[in-house]
Homo-oligomer: 252 residues x 4
């Protein structure tokens, strides 16, 4: 890093007094920043059919309605969930599935649907979850007329931070999560120097705004922390037949 | 604040050692948080017609396609812009318009359209702006095949922070901004103790992620800071006939 | 807010194109910001005697070595702790003490000393706590050669976030916490829209860096959230005779 | 990353419903986090002689009063500044000096002294600067009874963010900066996905609290952004004979 870039910078930095003594005439262009030039992305189109936007040009499509090629079983081997009606359907008892790809910082769009026929209540009703980097759970639950603990309802960072509001749709209707996520940064000691931060829109409604995630999702006790690198997107098998579709990620 | 609430809390806080000596049996319910219960919001529906979501149940609709009842001229008096094709159209030379209502922290949805016929270039093409609290500009510009300075293109916090990518649509097409915004907090000295933070999706693509805004938007020089309370949403007249529609805000 | 200030701003904002067409000559002074002028504070002096800095001119001194005039019992009535050797000493069994004043955003300096004679271990050794706004605990513990759970040792946000390192001094030695704290902001629904953030130096070593606090400190289960306004600084009685001295706060 | 760790986690994550059906008895220990164990650091001692704390055990001492072994000229070659009275003294005209080592995230302690004899005014008086990673300037200036622009006085992020208060000491007196700094994170496009954040205590007084830095320090115009990795600590030659001493860094 002791290179020409720094040398030039230092020269500029060391002698601004000269500029101050001999004021340089400036045009308004002097306050413009031209570099870098933001990369072009062709956005998707808003569509009732997909409950949101179709994937933009730089998205990695993780499920387009056809197959589980991008997924595998969390327990190893092929993803044992089902594909029907252009959706991924949980196969209760088969365990979670996760993407073959690993991710760091990303924007995520995912749609999900709780079973139309209501069975059970509280955590037993339409329970699943979307795990950022395989570790941090954004709760999926049928939270329509279904009171449970606030930090366990749909849109909560499970057992951590409740959503700002409950924007749930009815069971059987497609719902969306639009997520901005930055991964944690660990130091050499394994400490989380910068936690993961997450912003979530649920069905177009802001429910998490730059929420600091405390650690990975545990059912009991406090969130714990383990250093990690990139990780997959994981969908939880919690015993209910939840559907997922139109899953895509943009790496930030 | 020296009330029963604190007294009870203090009692609990002062003697946890006892619980430690005589471990209380816990069920997993001990780690649930039930209060407050997130308020119910009926979300809108994704729709191609509105390039995004229709307003959720708790939104304040600032323009529904019909009239400027929610708006006034920044220079005083009635809003002198036009309504046509269910859109608000800039009336160049009439100056900006702003909402009669003032806002603090909010989620904003707004759609805009640059003139279909391309005239001019750089900052001269489809230029307008959406000002949070009347002060902090999210730039509106026809940035389709129209190179300008990066911190001045569509989706920039004008003359401050460039967008992460350029997700512009073609001139004449409706585009969306979905915004999460928290207002600055000033101290008694008039210092910005907590700056405004803004997250923006442009046509469904994340372009600003928890960006700290430095001060209000100035054309020349550095951003400056003045303490303020709630403020209106303001739309800029920059001499181009930009259209706006489907404008709604949810107070956070 | 629809005042002259906004009107002037809007005029400037509406017609910058003119400046662009007729570039104004600028000097480097154009990028200077002169207002507000930071308020003068006479800083304290670094001193071995106080294990840090003496109070700056705008500090509210909460304990200067002499009496408990600024304090009261959490359970009501006068603060029943002792003053000896220019220090506040916990009176085990009397419950916590708290300041009569309430605070919002602040900088805090506080010094504390665990008993020189080591008794007990883990959480039983030199246990106390400093509660921001009476609710959020920065743990005080004799953490010198005293392993306990990481999120319960000195410098942890108790049962939430462990310190980055263990910078503990020996029992019987004075130790310092220098804290930058911003209070949470709640919305009308009672939701924590902006959490408390805390930065802590322990004996001059950074141990918490902009840590988001999740809720108030509970011994069991997850942190819970209740809306509140300003609150006192609270010191915990956990059954050990911890000393405190040189306590001052600067309101931010 | 598709390893045993994730597999175990996924098993736990997939079947928590069982625990819910058969509540496991928990002790308060269930909410303790034991790993990682914070690394031990022996803190320094508060001392009038060093205007703050002596270096903790894990500090990299960049200047201990004797020589410039840790430094080099920004323009290449040996650092041409002087050492006198156990301090580094600017050699006006020789250009800046920077550390041979590069840093990412860090805590910094540095002491500085403006010339006892006052000459000049505003930016001409005791002007120097401390550059994080060689790029982001924390301003050094004699700001005692010396009005200049607020975002250019001592403790400002130069030409960006003014200090919360003016905690300057008199010319000729030693002053301290205690800094917590996290480096920016850039993405593949060269965009600053996470900006640098800086917290600064000036003579023990909080003057910057988690301030987002906008780009590197430019004398004219807006801050610009260029992706970079680790970088040195740099001291500016601005034509005044500023002294520096007791310089140490802890890598976070």
């Amino acid at each position: 890093m002791k290179n020409v870039f720094f040398s030039i910078l230092a020269l500029v930095a060391a002698f601004p007094a000269q500029a101050q003594l001999q004021p340089k005439k400036m045009t308004p262009e002097s306050s413009e920043v031209w570099s870098p030039e933001p990369r072009l992305v062709t956005p998707g189109a808003a569509s009732a059919a997909v409950s949101g936007f179709t994937p933009p040009s730089d998205a990695i499509v993780l499920f387009d309605g056809r197959n589980l090629d991008e997924w595998e079983s969390v327990q190893g081997g092929a993803a044992g969930w089902n594909v029907a009606d252009n959706a991924i359907i949980t196969a209760p008892g088969k365990g979670g599935i996760q993407t073959k790809r690993d991710f760091g910082d990303f924007q995520l769009h995912i749609e999900w649907r709780s079973p139309a026929e209501v069975k059970g209540n509280s955590q037993g009703r339409g329970n699943s979850g979307v795990f950022m980097q395989g570790l941090y759970e954004l709760q999926v639950l049928d939270s329509y007329n279904n009171r449970t603990y606030s930090n366990g309802q749909a849109g909560s960072i499970y057992k951590q931070t409740m959503p700002l509001v409950n924007a749930a749709k009815k069971p059987g209707e497609w719902q969306t999560y639009d997520v901005a996520y930055t991964a944690p940064r660990f130091n050499k000691d394994g400490m989380m120097l910068i936690p993961p931060y997450i912003t979530v829109f649920h069905n177009g409604v802001l429910i998490q705004n730059h929420t600091a995630i405390q650690g990975h999702t545990d059912y009991i006790g406090r969130p714990t922390v383990k250093p990690h690198g990139r990780g997959p997107l994981m969908l939880q098998d919690h015993g209910n037949t939840t559907g997922f579709r139109n899953v895509w990620i943009r790496e930030l």
